[in-house]
Symmetry: D2
Subunit: 301 residues, 4 copies
Amino acid sequence: MKNVPFKGVIAYPITPFDTNEKVDIDLFKKLLERLIRNGSHGIAPLGSTGVLPYLTDQEKEAITEATIQQVNQRLPVLVGVSNLTTERTVHHAKFAEKAGATAVMIIPMSYWKLTDDEIVRHYDTVAKQISIPIMAYNNPATSGVDMSPALLKRLLEIPNVTMIKESTGDVQRMHYLRKELGEDVAFYNGSNPLALAALSAGAMGWCTAAPNLIPELNIALYDAIQENDLRYAQDIFYKQINLLKFIVNKGLPRAVKAGLAILGEEGGNLRSPLKPLTDIEKSELKTILEKSKHGIENVIG
Amino acid sequence: MKNVPFKGVIAYPITPFDTNEKVDIDLFKKLLERLIRNGSHGIAPLGSTGVLPYLTDQEKEAITEATIQQVNQRLPVLVGVSNLTTERTVHHAKFAEKAGATAVMIIPMSYWKLTDDEIVRHYDTVAKQISIPIMAYNNPATSGVDMSPALLKRLLEIPNVTMIKESTGDVQRMHYLRKELGEDVAFYNGSNPLALAALSAGAMGWCTAAPNLIPELNIALYDAIQENDLRYAQDIFYKQINLLKFIVNKGLPRAVKAGLAILGEEGGNLRSPLKPLTDIEKSELKTILEKSKHGIENVIG
Amino acid sequence: MKNVPFKGVIAYPITPFDTNEKVDIDLFKKLLERLIRNGSHGIAPLGSTGVLPYLTDQEKEAITEATIQQVNQRLPVLVGVSNLTTERTVHHAKFAEKAGATAVMIIPMSYWKLTDDEIVRHYDTVAKQISIPIMAYNNPATSGVDMSPALLKRLLEIPNVTMIKESTGDVQRMHYLRKELGEDVAFYNGSNPLALAALSAGAMGWCTAAPNLIPELNIALYDAIQENDLRYAQDIFYKQINLLKFIVNKGLPRAVKAGLAILGEEGGNLRSPLKPLTDIEKSELKTILEKSKHGIENVIG
Amino acid sequence: MKNVPFKGVIAYPITPFDTNEKVDIDLFKKLLERLIRNGSHGIAPLGSTGVLPYLTDQEKEAITEATIQQVNQRLPVLVGVSNLTTERTVHHAKFAEKAGATAVMIIPMSYWKLTDDEIVRHYDTVAKQISIPIMAYNNPATSGVDMSPALLKRLLEIPNVTMIKESTGDVQRMHYLRKELGEDVAFYNGSNPLALAALSAGAMGWCTAAPNLIPELNIALYDAIQENDLRYAQDIFYKQINLLKFIVNKGLPRAVKAGLAILGEEGGNLRSPLKPLTDIEKSELKTILEKSKHGIENVIG
């Protein structure tokens, strides 16, 4: 049996910056603690939400260590270690393992579109240098390469590639993974607006930045599916769909930061060229958040 | 309250041709009777499956009359009356109403991409000439125009446009329809591989040619959703997904005809330029059908 | 050597309707005469511009006969005979030949996406029933099927398929046709904004509705290329690019009709669901036309 | 008048690596010298061809200095300084200016899709810190963001943004730039297979890695256009189109390295995950190169 240490709602923290655009580790830990206390089933630093590609090696290492320390074994930790070069990916994967990560997530970043063989060799090289499991992540919108189901199948033949995160937003990919790769394959949804469809299709978990803003609704959706209560899951989903779409459309780091401010929480600054939402966008988000909160009281409270 | 006479599995018959490529009305009635007896909740002649655009006006009228006669009020009948010109659409809509159709389905066929205003005027002109409800059908792959959610909202303001069939295959459209247009809006899924996701999202019915081949599985899926049993729905769906994908990929008229032959049923000929599946494709279909049938026994029988 | 009776600017007339949306043959002939007198090198009735798919069989036949009669052998005539069914395509191709057409143009219309084999068989069936040459027309935006260069190569093996009209708007297709199929292959540009690039790439002609409005500029562009004067061709092209883009974006029948009115010419009505341009669009067209006319005087006059 | 120091064929060197995947500066200089001697009109290190995003800051600086030194004012030098963060982009732009670069090239790299305002602010921040001109580079395939013509227009309002490189491969963008932004705007073609169409449309230069392999053909094409000899330009273009398509399809660094080996030149290694072409691909490239060389003799020699 493959080593699959994640299920449920896997929460993605943002990486906050101070006014000089330096990483603010203290604030990062505070934001992490919120996610843990609000019921997330796993924590995933250095994802897209955490603006991984905008950080230096030293910053990535500091974030990795801060996460392991703050989580302190209360939840499994999935560290993003993706890099354009194989050499740097190996470096960060080894660092994460040594620091105590439960698993690493790797997306095949590509400036030059990689061939299938290059991608397999990339994962294989990293996999041989670590003992913890790898989640292969498919997100053509950010990586520039769309890993076909056939390629994902090849990656799963590497012993410690045990999990797949799919963010194309196409539910047919979920069907393929389940139908063709067997019920054993652990696949996770990375497309927020697809949460209901993906969990209905059998996804083992949901990788999401939404718990920074509406953790109760996210977890209630997952629980409803677990309890085989589709009708309730549908209700809960329609309470959060507008928020899920908004944060994806505006970019997760920008939207989460703006949402935290609306909730009265400190979220820090962004690193340029990323800039805050406009006032109109913030006001739109405020309305959506309030309606969602109202939904929480009605449905859960 | 809007007049919404359809729910559940709405079955689409093929239009069979004889060896001279003339419509075979007797065989059509036999195929219709199979669909009725196998438990369909509605019948929809002259859809894409029924190769509507390849027929003459006289042939369309003969099929309409044959359907009403054969169904004989046992089920509601949804007649396709789409045409490139408004004048012909009105003609066929009036004919269908007079013949006894429960409702008509209209897709905005477009050689020249229509503007939103032209589409609204097209539906409005037809709607004013009939009293039965209209199902507006969105399928950019065949019509050449993708009706935005905003346009669908405008169409629903026309009193007898009461139903929407969505075939883009994007579950987010379903979410929009339910969330933005309210729980009253009756929307139907027209994309076979999206059946589980669409019904999970609250679709009122499923417009499909699949009951020509695997009616038990199609109806069992709908029933499981009705009984709020997601886990069983998922099982049932994964038994039929390969068949659903196959018939869509190969073209419904070709695939249904080939499937009928495999099941030992007479399905007639196609009209040129459409040609039968190749032997390799037929053999692939045979394997998929057999596995589905095995699925039926295991899950239902 | 293949029979290739067309080169240069092949002009597409609109099909005008009267106030009852009936075809107005007298007006059609008047519009045809303008195109002939303004220097077009060929005439192509029943194209997209002529709203072929919105016409009845009788109307198509009347237009065919009116064209042959009016042109009266002054120019070669290319009659559009495309139809969804093979049987009707054969019918209209034979009619056109008998009426005196120089060649026929056939696009593989497809409601159900046709396979390559079906398309080849479709063309082959028609080709065997006529002696005049066939222009194969690729325009995925209106036909729903994109014929690959490999498929076009197969079609050219049919003896009387001697010409290819490419309307994808991708100049790389032109390069392929010239490079892979040899200098003998006669290919024509059907994408107006691609006129300069296509003629620079070696296209033998330009199939266009623009001569209804700016014949001098269209013909001057072709002539400049013939005279190997790229710099002048570039100048002439930039005088007309805005008009070419406008008529494509708004739909050729709508835009040509509006342009004729601006020029003080009778253009008749459209057939529903097609509707006239809005006042704002007409005013935009007026400005573009005036600037083009100014361009003509400066460059040519 | 804007400061536009480039025209003609701007050659992109690869960045060669040794067997330990370290940058090989000596070999880089040798490759640079070949490009200079073979007639290029400008040199552009640290482009996509030079695998900019796979290099460390130190490596980028070493390449910049080596280029300035080797070129030694024989040709203008365009240094790529793009980076995900604004801070690093400023750093490298200032470094390039100080080192003696003629201009810098900046593509708005984006992991998170940038808004138009963010992109303008990004360029503006960099522009204010340097005095040399900036070439704004649009290539959605590698940057993840497609700068609209309207956005490019805004960028050109920044005083030292004086040049635009377009790599979408859509010739209509060239038309827009010339028509809407005026004859003053210096735009360059970055899509190799579009070379003929772009130069015919008035592009001021061609940014290309092809001179690493077929400099005579590249320069002959540019010269023919300058001499207003379209017919010869067409001939020359068709001699090289297959090579241009091949190097783009296979990825410029991989293809150029393989091509150099075929020509008997040392090209060094690639950095992982990028891997060499397969033997079949190399053999295909050999055939294409030989046919091109034959073309050179026939047409030029």
